[in-house]
């Protein structure tokens, strides 16, 4: 006669956790909490400053309203002033910067993308391209902008150079991922006809990633347009300079107008970009 043996089960339910066990979970939560607490302590934000600032909000909004676009009505006719022409002129420069930077940036990034695709480039080349991508991604375009502005005294040209230098980190990185996913058999087919490496890229690779390339270019233009609106704050051309000057000289009503124009242009840019990308892909 055998006695049945029952294994003992705990009747209590504990929540499953994604961590290795509950101690790891508690430790991770504790570490995050301590890290955040340390940051708050280290930042030393004074309550007085906070209070003072909240009082200032009222003043700022009062000074910003109504925004002055430099348009006035006199005798039933619209009169545009110096401020209006300033906004238009600088916004056109901003737009021009974004377009030139996108075209040049994409042309520069294309070879980097091919070099950064694991299946197309030899190992040493691959590592060089990955290093270029990491560095251009990590250093903000405004930093590049300010270095060029002070280093060479360029205006809008510094801004364009900054945007171009930041493009591989985005464009080459994303395009390389697509290049790594292409259908290899088509490359073999082109190679079998006796084509050289350039022929293989032009007829085997490019047709496979062209829609993605165009989509990324439009997307990059959208990003460049956004960045162009602020590069002027460090003197690298575009409407950002107008905004900065307006705020620094306490012309808050003009500053508010510039700000609204920037928001409008950025939103329109985003709408155009997402519509065009939807059409391509």
């Amino acid at each position: 006669m055998s006695t049945l043996e029952y294994e003992e089960y705990s009747s209590e339910w504990t929540r499953p956790t994604v961590f290795y066990n509950r101690w790891v979970k508690r430790l991770v939560y504790l570490a995050v909490a301590v890290f955040i607490a340390w940051n708050v302590w280290a930042a030393r934000i004074s309550a007085e400053r906070l209070q003072y600032g909240i009082g200032q909000v009222d003043f700022l909004f009062g000074a910003m309203w109504p925004p002055d676009f430099g348009i006035s009505v006199s005798g039933g006719e619209l009169v545009t002033g110096r401020r209006f022409s300033r906004i238009v002129e600088k916004m056109l420069e901003t737009l021009a910067m974004s377009i030139v930077a996108t075209v040049v940036g994409v042309l520069v990034s294309l070879p980097v993308a091919v070099m950064a695709a694991e299946n197309l480039a030899p190992r040493p080349v691959y590592y060089v391209a990955r290093a270029i991508i990491t560095v251009t991604r990590s250093i903000h375009e405004l930093i590049v902008g300010i270095v060029f502005v002070i280093g060479f005294g360029f205006g809008a040209f510094a801004g364009v150079l900054a945007l171009v230098s930041a493009t591989p980190g985005f464009f080459a990185k994303l395009l390389a991922e697509d290049l790594e996913d292409i259908d290899q058999s088509r490359l073999d087919a082109i190679r079998a006809t006796g084509a050289g490496p350039l022929g293989v890229i032009l007829y085997g690779v490019v047709p496979q990633v062209l829609p993605r390339m165009i989509g990324l270019t439009i997307y990059r233009w959208d990003i460049n347009l956004r960045a162009s609106t602020i590069l002027g704050i460090v003197g690298a051309g575009g409407i950002g300079a107008t905004l900065n000057t307006a705020f620094n000289t306490y012309e808050y009503d003009f500053g508010a107008a510039v700000l609204l124009v920037i928001i409008a242009v950025v939103v329109v840019g985003e709408v155009v970009s997402s519509w065009a990308r939807g059409r391509v892909q």
Binding site: N39, S138, E270
Partner: protein
């Protein structure tokens, strides 16, 4: 002989005439815009000719980096990290309700949904540097303005991604909570939150990683962080110190990026 043979032996064409014309036209428009933009910028060709030489010269002045300076930038670098961390936490707190009203399945009514969309769009279309400019006017120069700049810029990003997650949750879980008599708050805590928790962790850490990069530039408008130090060094033409800062930024950004990538791999 059939009629088909009269036409030219079919050469394969990828697009018909109309589409080809359209494509050609688009290429022409893009080219035109580029040329017009180039001329509008009025770039002096001397600049382009001498640019490579100038850049090489600048790097020559930067190298070798000023190693002794490294000690001085520890504090501003910590400030940069402070701005990124507190800014992200603050943004999370502010973005959570916005995400709740932006998600189609949790928003109380159409008006709140529209409000959520407007907040998301507004926050995203104003760059952190512009937020910085405004907050420096309000709170004066320093870390506080930087934190708020980074936080306000992040609200839209976090709220948008979070609301997309909320829209994709399994409604059965929320129904079950409701069936036991749970209130809307119970539904949120026991029905929605557990389902979006991994995404929440992923989004937070991703935005934090972006914010580290943003916090390196807030200093240009006086909003604290390493940017202040960088601007001073550039202004004083201390190029070897500039290179030290650039290397430090590179290290911090790459480190935070790998932490962020690790966490996001874990929660996926």
């Amino acid at each position: 002989m059939t009629a088909a043979d009269d036409t030219a032996p079919g050469e394969w064409e990828r697009f018909d005439t109309k589409r080809r014309l359209l494509r050609f036209g688009l290429v022409l428009v893009v080219l035109g815009a580029t040329v017009a933009s180039w001329r509008a910028l009025d770039v002096r060709y001397v600049y382009i000719e001498t640019a490579p030489e100038n850049i090489a010269d600048l790097f020559g002045r930067m190298y070798p980096p000023d190693a002794a300076y490294a000690g001085e930038i520890v504090d501003p670098m910590i400030q940069t990290i402070n701005i990124a961390v507190i800014g992200t936490v603050l943004a999370l707190l502010l973005a959570a309700p916005v995400a709740y009203i932006s998600a189609r399945n949790t928003t109380p009514n159409r008006a709140t949904h529209a409000l959520g969309t407007v907040i998301v769009a507004g926050s995203r279309s104003i760059h952190s540097l512009i937020w910085g400019l405004v907050f420096v006017i309000v709170f004066g120069t320093g870390v506080l303005a930087g934190i708020l700049a980074v936080a306000f810029r992040s609200i839209g990003f976090i709220a948008k991604l979070l609301s997309e997650e909320i829209e994709e949750i399994d409604a059965a879980a929320t129904e079950a909570i409701r069936a036991t008599g749970g209130s809307e708050l119970d539904v949120l805590i026991y029905g929605i939150l557990p389902q979006i928790k991994p995404a929440l962790a992923g989004i937070s850490v991703y935005r934090w990683d972006i914010n580290v990069r943003e916090a390196t530039i807030t200093g240009f408008v006086g909003a604290g962080g390493i940017g202040v130090e960088l601007q001073n060094s550039i202004g004083a033409f201390r190029w070897d110190a500039v290179l030290t800062i650039l290397i430090a930024i590179l290290i911090v950004v790459v480190a935070s990026e790998s932490i962020s990538a690790y966490v996001r791999r874990k929660v996926r």
